[in-house]
């Protein structure tokens, strides 16, 4: 049953990503001023949107850990597996955003990086979640779940700042094309290519997330068995 589900997911993801690639590279019209380099937009923006999704999964998971840690430790551990996986996948997506951005900026702005609010807060977001993963390395036992969850709440505070950065301030980063006021919006073929890529990368990311949760649950079972064996040996 599980193998079948994995097989079906992979079968769904591969054509979807191929279709997204076709849309971004061939179907979407070439941008008038920037040329082909603008096509990186179809990777940069979806990863940015989806990084929020995975960080939100981390946030909800962490809140549930804080809620259940006393009353229902079993469920708290499950929530923690989701929180950890959300942060890890989120960091990967953030890394893609932070990599594709400079690749685009170099030919268009003439510089790789500038310290404008949008770029800075994106980097801060990445740093916070890397430190979240470090906390999990450096502490152990059941208190680690609580401490990591607390830190995740602080990480989530930075998300709205990052989202609003190029809406509140006049930034060098392009202003938003989605939900950015009366001047925002896209031509239909561009919107279609963007939409397909958001969908494809979302399915891909959620698949990886599901794998990661599954692996983490296994790890938790192994850890608990090891702890019980150590107790029994005494």
């Amino acid at each position: 049953m599980k193998k079948l589900a994995i097989l079906l997911a992979v079968i769904a993801v591969v054509p979807l990503m191929a279709w997204g690639f076709y849309q971004a590279i061939y179907a979407a019209p070439t941008e008038a001023t920037m040329g082909d380099v603008q096509r990186i937009f179809y990777y940069h923006v979806p990863h940015g949107i989806l990084a929020y999704l995975f960080y939100s999964i981390n946030f909800v998971g962490s809140l549930l850990v804080l809620l259940w840690r006393r009353s229902n430790p079993e469920r708290a551990i499950v929530a923690d597996a989701w929180a950890l996986s959300g942060a890890e996948v989120g960091v990967v997506f953030s890394t893609v955003v932070l990599t594709t951005g400079p690749i685009w900026a170099r030919p268009v702005w003439g510089i790789w990086w500038t310290w404008d609010p949008r770029l800075t807060t994106s980097l801060v977001l990445w740093l916070i979640y890397v430190s979240y993963l470090l906390v999990r390395r450096f502490s152990s036992g059941s208190q680690m779940y609580t401490l990591a969850a607390v830190l995740a709440v602080f990480g989530a505070l930075d998300m709205p700042i990052n989202y609003l950065a190029n809406r509140l301030w006049r930034t060098q980063h392009p202003s938003p094309v989605i939900a950015g006021g009366p001047d925002s919006g896209m031509a239909p073929p561009i919107a279609a290519a963007l939409g397909w890529n958001v969908l494809a990368w979302a399915v891909w990311g959620l698949l990886i997330l599901a794998f990661r949760v599954y692996v983490e649950r296994r790890q938790q079972t192994i850890d608990r068995a090891a702890a019980n064996a150590a107790l029994a040996a005494d």
């Binding site: 740093l127 906390v135 208190q143 680690m144 602080f154």
Partner: protein, 229 residues
């Protein structure tokens, strides 16, 4: 026995911390010397000529304070771990928030003393003649210090429970503190250079907002950190 009022609990914790510091002077002395070293190091590394010194001075002051306070913040909780003082504190009728606020106030006082001593030295080393509205510094520096100390105290309590105690605090604190550092550095720079780039005091307002939000969240979550088993 009647439950003591919240302010009196805060005051009791605060009095204890201040008395310990008054007798040992560990935190203030080590912070002061460390911050002085950072200022000297930066002035060697960057050769602060008159023109550029105003631009970088704000950043150097903030970073010097930041590095110096990390060492003291770790000590503030490490002291409580020895002889299980922290466990004893958890058994008192006082809630975690009172303990937290008292620690923040104590550390805020220590860092402020360090800055008061360091400030004049700083102006001499960097040949500063502020061109903007200097009185705003009296607003920016406390706000920035509060952001540093409130977050620092919170995350020191969090990291003291991990395996690599001293190492972890800067790794968590610096990313969280970055927005406040940016706001602090930019407002100090505007004040010193008088360039008028921030007529609506936007960065100072941002700093105040940051203080309110992060202090509130810290207060709400401190009991959780204190009780983490």
């Amino acid at each position: 026995m009647a439950q003591p009022s919240w302010p009196s609990l805060v005051l009791a914790h605060l009095r204890k911390d201040l008395r310990i510091e008054w007798r040992s002077r560990d935190a203030i002395n080590s912070m002061l010397f460390f911050a002085l070293l950072v200022v000297v190091l930066f002035s060697m590394a960057f050769d602060p000529t008159r023109a550029t010194s105003r631009e970088i001075a704000g950043g150097v002051l903030c970073v010097a304070t930041l590095f110096a306070s990390v060492s003291a913040l770790n000590q503030a909780w490490a002291r409580e771990i020895r002889h299980q003082v922290l466990d004893a504190l958890r058994m008192t009728p006082s809630d975690g928030a009172a303990l937290f606020i008292a620690k923040v106030l104590a550390n805020f006082l220590f860092v402020t003393v360090v800055q008061a001593v360091l400030g004049p030295i700083f102006f001499i080393f960097y040949n500063l003649h502020p061109l903007g509205e200097t009185w705003l510094l009296a607003l920016v520096i406390p706000l920035g210090t509060w952001a540093l100390v409130a977050n620092g105290t919170f995350f020191a309590a969090l990291s003291i429970r991990s395996r690599n105690r001293e190492l972890l605090l800067p790794l968590i604190l610096f990313p969280i503190f970055l927005p406040a550092l940016l706001a602090m550095v930019l407002s100090v720079k505007t004040i010193l250079t008088g360039d008028g780039t921030d007529p609506h005091l936007f960065w100072i307002k941002l700093l105040a907002g940051y203080d309110i939000i992060f202090t509130t969240v810290s207060l709400l979550l401190f009991d959780t950190v204190l009780e983490a088993e």
